[in-house]
């Protein structure tokens, strides 16, 4: 299996720091340090974003399918108003973790270039890939990428 190491983007440096054993900070809302050893799929979404609507059922099935293999799905909401996010969530009732980033602090740190944006983080806490947007056609490629990462121990 060829491992595809992405060029470490400056934008990602903070994340790598946060998940390294020493860099973990108490105020890190993502709490990625505690997820060391897991493959983490971080998805930035908003209730007004049309493709996010399509990604939610897919993420729910990801969680269901791969949780046992060590996958954690984290959805970071960047809505301005929390109630907009809650209305959206009541429609999907996802069973993965939701992190609220109402002020856009995390979004700013991750230098999001589009909505939605997802980051795939390997068991060592390294960002393996970043994916901007979500089209139904992307699902298979993303699933395979996650699958592959889960095989790597």
């Amino acid at each position: 299996m060829t491992k595809k190491w992405l060029r470490p983007l400056a934008a990602i440096a903070w994340l790598a720091l946060a998940v390294s054993a020493h860099g973990a900070t108490a105020e890190d809302p993502l709490d990625l340090a505690h997820l060391h050893g897991k493959v983490v799929y971080v998805d930035f979404w908003a209730s007004w974003c049309v493709p996010c609507r399509q990604s939610f059922p897919w993420m729910a099935s990801l969680q269901k399918q791969f949780a046992a293999d060590g996958l954690v799905v984290l959805a970071v909401n960047v809505d301005h108003e929390r109630r907009d996010a809650d209305r959206f969530l009541s429609e999907f009732a996802p069973d993965f973790r939701i992190v609220y980033d109402t002020g856009g602090v995390l979004a700013e740190r991750y230098h999001l270039k589009g909505m939605p944006t997802s980051f795939l983080i390997d068991r060592d806490g390294k960002v393996q890939s970043e994916h901007i947007g979500f089209r139904p056609a992307d699902r298979d490629a993303l699933t395979e990428r996650i699958h592959t990462l889960l095989q790597t121990h």
Binding site: D79, L112, M115, T117
Partner: protein
């Protein structure tokens, strides 16, 4: 007076102003909640616009100029 050259100048100055990394203009991708509203689309009512264009075209000497869309939620 608006002649072709002045119009083009206004246009180019405006375009350059925004394209030359004038970073105070615009929003971050996650701040497009209001812009994503359907009624915030520049062409929110294409049917009304088409009817108006046709109507005013038949009553007035000037017409068109609106063209093209843009804006929106910027979702990928």
């Amino acid at each position: 007076m608006l002649n072709a050259r002045t119009a083009l100048m206004i246009f180019l100055v405006a375009s350059l102003g925004t394209l030359q990394g004038c970073s105070t203009l615009g929003v971050k991708p996650w701040q497009r909640d209001l812009l994503a509203r359907k009624d915030m689309a520049l062409d929110a009512n294409p049917l009304d616009a088409a009817i108006d264009d046709h109507l005013y075209f038949s009553k007035e000497a000037a017409s068109g100029g609106k063209g093209f869309g843009g804006g929106g939620c910027g979702c990928n």
